[in-house]
C-alpha cells in the first residue's frame, strides 16, 4: 500500500479529503494495533505515514474539512508515538501540526467557526485534538483554540435540540457526531471533562433517535442527502459506554458482528470505517439491556421532526413507519415534508431515494431559496418523495409543518401531520400489522 500523496480529487470541486480520511483511518488502525501489541512494523509504518503528510505543501485549507481531519490524524499519531520519537522528530512533527493544521485554522473569521452545521463540529474537533496534542509546548495556542471552541461549538450543538433529530439527516448526524464524540473523548482523556458538550439539549437523545430511525430490515429513514446507512456506528458504542445504555450497543453491535464474520479486504469509508479502530476503544461487552428501545419515537420541536412508529422493538418482521415534518430550509435538506418510509414482514415497501450525487459536483445546488438549482433534481424535490404534491407545485422552501396529535402505546400508535390545508396525512401502525 503506497504512502499518501497530496493528490486532489474531484470533478469540478477539488478536495484533499479522501487522502485526509485515508491517513486518519491508517493512523487509528496502526496506532491502536501498535498500542495494544507494540509490533515494531506497525509503529514504523505509522511514522512513515506522518512523515509523508508533513512533507505536503499544505493540507488544503481552502476546504477546511480536509485540514481538520488531517490535523486530527497527525495529532493522534504525535500523542500516541510520543515515547517512540526523539526530541528532534517530536519538534518537527509538532511544528508541522502547527504550520499545516493550527495556523491555517486560526482565522476567527472563517465561516465554519460559528457555523450552525457539521462543519463546525468537524473543524473545531480537528483543531481541539490538534491543540491538545501540543498543549504543553504551545500553551497559548491551545488556550486560544479551546476558548474559541467552547464559545462556538454550542452553535452547532443547538441543531440537536430539543429532541435529538439532526436536521441534516442521518449521514451528516454520523459525520458531525463522530467528530463531536472524538472531541468529547479527547477532552475527557486529556483534561478529565467534556467541556459541557454532553449536556447539550438533544445530543444524548440523538443516539436513540438514530437507532430508532433504522427500520426492521436494516436501512435507516434516509431523509435529506443520505446514503445507504450509517453502517458500523462507533459513536453508538461510545454512547452505550458513556451513558450505560446497553440497548444502544445491542442495536449497533450486529453490524460489527457481521463485519467480524466476513471482514472486507478494504474498509468502506462511505460507511465511516475510518473510525473502526475507535469502536474497539469504545467496545464494551454487549449484554442483555435493562430495557429495550421503545417502539414509538416522536421527536418534535426542532427544525426537523420525526415520527417513528413500529409494532415490536427488535422483531425483523415488525411494521415500521417513519415520516418527516418540520422546516425545509436546512443544510442538505430536501423538499420532503410528509415523506414516509414503510416496512412490514421483512420487506421495505416505501423508501427514500436519498442523496443525488450530481448535487455534490455543482456549485449552484446548495442555495435553499425557491429558485435554487437544487430543486431541479428529482431526488431533492417532492415529486421524488413519498408525499403528496399539491397542484403540481414544488413545496415552498419557507414552509413548515409541525407534527399534530400523536399517541404511542404498547399495541397501537399514531401520528398526524398537517401539510397545507386542506390536505392532511394520517399514518399509523397497529399490532395487527395493518398500518
Amino acid at each position: 500500500m503506497p504512502l499518501p500523496t497530496r493528490r486532489l480529487d474531484g470533478v469540478k470541486r477539488f478536495r484533499l479529503l479522501a487522502a485526509s480520511r485515508e491517513v486518519l483511518s491508517r493512523v487509528l488502525t496502526l496506532g491502536v494495533s501498535w498500542r495494544l501489541h507494540a509490533k515494531p512494523a506497525w509503529g514504523d509504518r505509522l511514522i512513515s505515514e506522518i512523515n509523508s503528510v508533513l512533507a505536503f505543501s499544505d493540507w488544503h485549507p481552502d476546504h477546511f474539512l480536509d485540514t481538520a481531519e488531517m490535523t486530527a490524524a497527525v495529532a493522534i499519531a504525535y500523542d500516541w508515538m510520543d515515547h517512540e520519537l526523539d526530541a528532534a522528530t517530536r519538534a518537527r512533527w509538532r511544528q508541522g501540526l502547527v504550520n499545516l493544521g493550527l495556523i491555517p485554522g486560526s482565522n476567527d473569521d472563517a465561516w465554519w467557526v460559528a457555523a450552525h452545521n457539521y462543519w463546525n463540529q468537524v473543524c473545531h474537533g480537528g483543531m481541539i485534538i490538534g491543540t491538545l496534542a501540543v498543549a504543553e509546548d504551545e500553551p497559548e495556542v491551545a488556550q486560544r483554540f479551546l476558548r474559541r471552541a467552547y464559545t462556538h461549538v454550542p452553535t452547532a450543538l443547538a441543531a440537536y435540540a430539543p429532541a435529538g433529530v439532526y436536521p441534516e439527516g442521518p449521514t451528516y448526524w454520523s459525520y458531525g457526531t463522530s467528530f463531536t464524540v472524538l472531541t468529547v473523548a479527547a477532552l475527557e482523556s486529556a483534561l478529565g471533562h467534556d467541556g459541557g458538550i454532553c449536556a447539550s439539549p438533544g445530543f444524548r437523545a440523538s443516539f436513540t433517535v438514530v437507532a430508532q430511525s433504522h427500520g426492521p430490515t436494516g436501512p435507516a429513514f434516509n431523509y435529506g442527502d443520505f446514503g445507504l446507512g450509517i453502517g458500523r456506528s462507533g459513536p453508538h458504542l461510545w454512547a452505550a459506554r458513556r451513558w450505560q445504555q446497553s440497548e444502544l450497543a445491542q442495536r449497533a453491535w450486529p453490524a460489527f458482528a457481521a463485519w467480524l464474520e466476513n471482514p472486507p479486504a478494504f474498509a468502506n469509508d462511505s460507511l465511516g470505517d475510518r473510525f473502526l479502530a475507535l469502536a474497539l476503544i469504545w467496545y464494551t461487552p454487549v449484554c442483555q439491556p435493562a430495557s429495550a428501545l421503545p417502539a414509538t419515537c416522536i421527536a418534535r420541536g426542532g427544525k426537523v421532526e420525526l415520527a417513528l412508529l413500529r409494532t415490536q422493538g427488535d422483531d425483523p418482521n415488525a411494521a415500521f413507519v417513519g415520516f418527516k415534518a418540520g422546516m425545509l430550509q436546512v443544510n442538505h435538506g430536501h423538499l420532503d415534508l410528509g415523506s414516509f418510509v414503510f416496512e412490514v414482514d421483512g420487506v421495505g415497501w416505501a423508501h427514500d431515494f436519498g442523496m443525488e450525487k450530481e448535487i455534490y459536483d455543482r456549485n449552484d445546488s446548495w442555495a435553499l431559496d425557491q429558485e435554487s438549482a437544487r430543486w431541479h433534481f428529482l431526488r431533492a424535490h417532492n415529486y421524488g418523495h413519498n408525499t403528496v404534491t399539491i397542484g403540481g407545485h414544488l413545496q415552498q422552501v419557507s414552509g413548515m409543518a409541525r407534527l399534530g396529535a400523536t399517541a404511542g402505546g404498547a399495541d397501537r400508535a399514531h401520528a398526524v401531520l398537517g401539510l397545507s390545508p386542506p390536505t392532511r396525512i394520517r399514518l399509523s401502525t397497529s399490532s395487527a400489522g395493518s398500518p
Binding site: 500523542d79 515515547h83 479527547a186 482523556s189 486529556a190 459541557g196 450505560q244 476503544i281
Partner: protein, 56 residues
C-alpha cells in the same frame, strides 16, 4: 457496562481567567489512555468478541 459515566461539566469554560488546560495529562492522553489499553488487553483474554475485534 463496567465504566461509570463521566459527568458533563457546566459550560462555559471560556470565561476570562479560566485555565482551560487545567488538569492536562501526560502523553499518551488522546482517546486511548494507558489505563484503557490495560482494560482492553484484559477484556480480550476472556471476551471472544473483543478478542475477535482486536484480531481483525
Amino acid at each position: 457496562m463496567s465504566t461509570a459515566p463521566v459527568p458533563s461539566v457546566p459550560s462555559p469554560r471560556a470565561a476570562p481567567g479560566v485555565d482551560v488546560l487545567a488538569g492536562l495529562r501526560a502523553h499518551p492522553r488522546l482517546l486511548l489512555t494507558p489505563e484503557r489499553v490495560t482494560e482492553l488487553q484484559a477484556l480480550a483474554g476472556g471476551d471472544p468478541q473483543c478478542a475477535a475485534f482486536i484480531a481483525a
